[in-house]
């Protein structure tokens, strides 16, 4: 079974984010890392291919600056190869165009039995790309998976709902979006990290894939204003001296919660 995982390379979320005032996009000029949300999909893909007893895991990604360090992390985990769509013109690309580009990258890899994505990225968090990608590719999809199994050519998913979860099945090929925590991502081994350096990553432009327009030119929106939200003021901060709990009790009393 062949699986393609959509991975995003993002600025380290532990560092404060910033918008570039000239382009009005998220600053992505530093090192980019594998979005932690995508590590679950990579792990899931590796497990499913292992269970199927054959096939490989490939990656598709999109980044404006040719960055592959995040993809290398996924390759070190065990993915075989990747396609990176990188092009300065991609800056400002909206979710719909992103889906079109990723679809073209998937087709460049010859498609797959299963495509896996996270439910949303940790930085932009539009949260629609997986389902848009499925529609562009003409595939069925099961979103918000909290468990995934493949039995022959049948995909079986427990899908998160507001009330609990649904058991959903689908015949492959299909796309699934996985929630965080669906599996425990492995840490890349030293051997994996070394092997990842020589694994093939094919870097192409949007034009190579025949997708245009992209970037702000293709976006269905423009940013008209960037403002600061009303700031919350910090209140009383005290060190716990063993009686900190009493402060909380008094506070709850003052708010008439108790």
């Amino acid at each position: 079974m062949n699986v393609i995982v959509c991975v995003k390379q993002i600025p380290d979320p532990a560092l404060p984010g910033a918008l570039d005032p000239s382009t009005k996009t998220l600053k992505r000029d530093g090192k980019l890392i594998l979005d932690e949300s995508d590590s679950y999909g990579v792990e899931m893909a590796l497990q499913l291919v292992g269970k199927a007893g054959g096939g490989e895991v490939s990656l598709v990604s999109m980044a404006p600056n040719g960055e592959t360090s995040g993809m290398r992390t996924a390759l070190a985990m065990g993915a075989a190869r990747g396609v990176l769509v990188s092009d300065p013109a991609l800056q400002g690309t909206d979710a719909l165009t992103t889906a079109k580009i990723l679809a073209a990258a998937v087709q460049k890899l010859g498609g797959a039995d299963l495509i896996i994505a996270a439910t949303e990225s940790s930085d932009g968090y539009t949260g629609t790309v997986p389902e848009q990608l499925a529609e562009v590719l003409g595939l069925p999809s099961i979103t918000f998976a909290k468990s995934v199994d493949v039995d022959g050519t049948t995909l079986k998913v427990n899908r998160q709902t507001e009330a609990g979860f649904d058991e959903v099945t689908c015949t492959l090929p299909a796309l699934v979006s996985v929630t965080a925590g669906v599996v425990e991502p492995r840490y890349p081994s030293f051997k994996g990290i070394m092997a990842a350096k020589s694994k093939p990553v094919d870097t192409v432009t949007a034009a190579d894939l025949g997708v245009s327009p992209v970037g702000w030119a293709g976006a269905g929106q423009e940013i008209v204003e960037i403002g600061q939200a009303a700031a919350r003021q910090a209140g009383e901060i005290v060190e716990d001296d063993g009686e900190g709990y009493a402060k909380i009790v008094a506070f709850l009393e003052s708010k008439k919660v108790i």
């Binding site: 918008l19 539009t126 629609t128 099961i142 209140g235 005290v238």
Partner: protein, 317 residues
């Protein structure tokens, strides 16, 4: 302006997100609702909140709403009734439907919004980024229908007092290859106490609890305060509690009267989901933790020591 609201129902009533969107939509133009399901039980309420008409697919026959509802909406638009704007709730269903529809219509989607303004034919929506510290306002380019999703609790809920909405059948029709996913069984997780996104008090736990077994203290505390237990993404990812407990950018948005953050440092991912709380209490070992920057009361200390004492004090009352 013709405004549609993507409606959802639960337990025989429109969801609160649906009523919020209807309330806002009334101030923007003429309102029509769309429902993936049977609208007969909620047409009256939808009408009271301003929808003159509701398109309803009827039972989806086990199809997931993403493909089914977007196909039905596309058919209505192709049939000549095209909205200028469709408001979606930022829910699992809302996200899937708007994503599929955006490809069918070749229109962009703007998600995670907290506000909308219409000026003539220009539609602007506002999204919080960086943990809610920065608000980005975007306007749609070109022609509609414009597709926008809104975070829960972005708008107040007020009835307008209209008559029942007229129910118009919107059959799903043939779905083809994309409609291959089938719901085989539905599981409802039992929960006691108030819902996380409706509770007046929310007690959330994070990594500072130390280990999964200590999460039970959060549940005990929530129960004592007649509130709901929540969680940071870190402990959801670690498998301590289900995804449905998660508060934050990728989880639920809560605005309780009191939010008690226990052992949560306050990653931007978390803050965006709880910053709107009326008051915030935080317990964390690290006095530099960002959560203290927005807390009304902050206790710098070990949650594993403070919480048991707090529980004891509350039980003794």
């Amino acid at each position: 302006m013709k405004v549609w609201v993507y409606a959802q129902q639960a337990e025989g009533a429109p969801t609160s997100a649906t009523l919020e969107l209807l309330t806002k939509a009334r101030s923007l133009g003429d309102v029509t609702a769309f429902l993936a399901g049977d609208a007969s039980g909620i047409a009256t309420t939808l009408g009271e909140f301003g929808a003159s008409k509701v398109y309803a697919t009827g039972d989806l026959g086990g199809h997931l709403p993403g493909v089914a509802a977007s196909t039905a909406i596309k058919a209505i638009i192709d049939g000549g009734d095209s909205p200028d704007l469709i408001l979606f709730p930022q829910s699992y269903e809302g996200r899937d439907v708007m994503a599929r529809l955006s490809v069918k219509l070749d229109k962009t989607v703007l998600t995670n919004n907290v506000d909308i303004a219409v000026d003539g034919s220009t539609v602007k929506v506002t999204t919080p980024v960086f943990g809610g510290n920065v608000l980005v306002t975007s306007s749609f380019n070109g022609d509609g229908p414009y597709l926008a999703a809104f975070r829960p609790k972005s708008f107040p809920v007020e009835a307008a007092g209209g008559g029942a909405a007229e129910v118009v059948a919107a059959p799903v029709g043939e779905l083809g290859a994309t409609g291959g996913a089938k719901v085989e069984a539905v599981h409802v997780e039992e929960h006691t106490g108030p819902k996380l996104d409706e509770a007046a008090v929310v007690v959330s736990g994070g990594r500072g609890l130390g280990e999964a077994g200590n999460y039970s203290t959060i549940e005990t505390l929530a129960k004592l305060l007649k509130g709901a237990p929540g969680a940071s993404r870190a402990i959801v990812d670690a498998g301590w509690v289900p995804y449905s407990y998660q508060v934050g950018q990728t989880g639920k948005v809560v605005k309780p009267d009191v939010y008690l953050a226990v052992g949560i440092s306050g990653a931007t991912q978390h803050m965006v989901g709880m910053k709107g709380s009326k008051t915030i209490i935080a317990i964390n070992k690290d006095k530099e933790a960002p959560i203290f920057g927005i807390a009304d009361l902050g206790i710098v200390g070990d949650a594993q020591k403070i919480v048991p004492k707090l529980i004891e004090a509350l039980q003794g009352r």
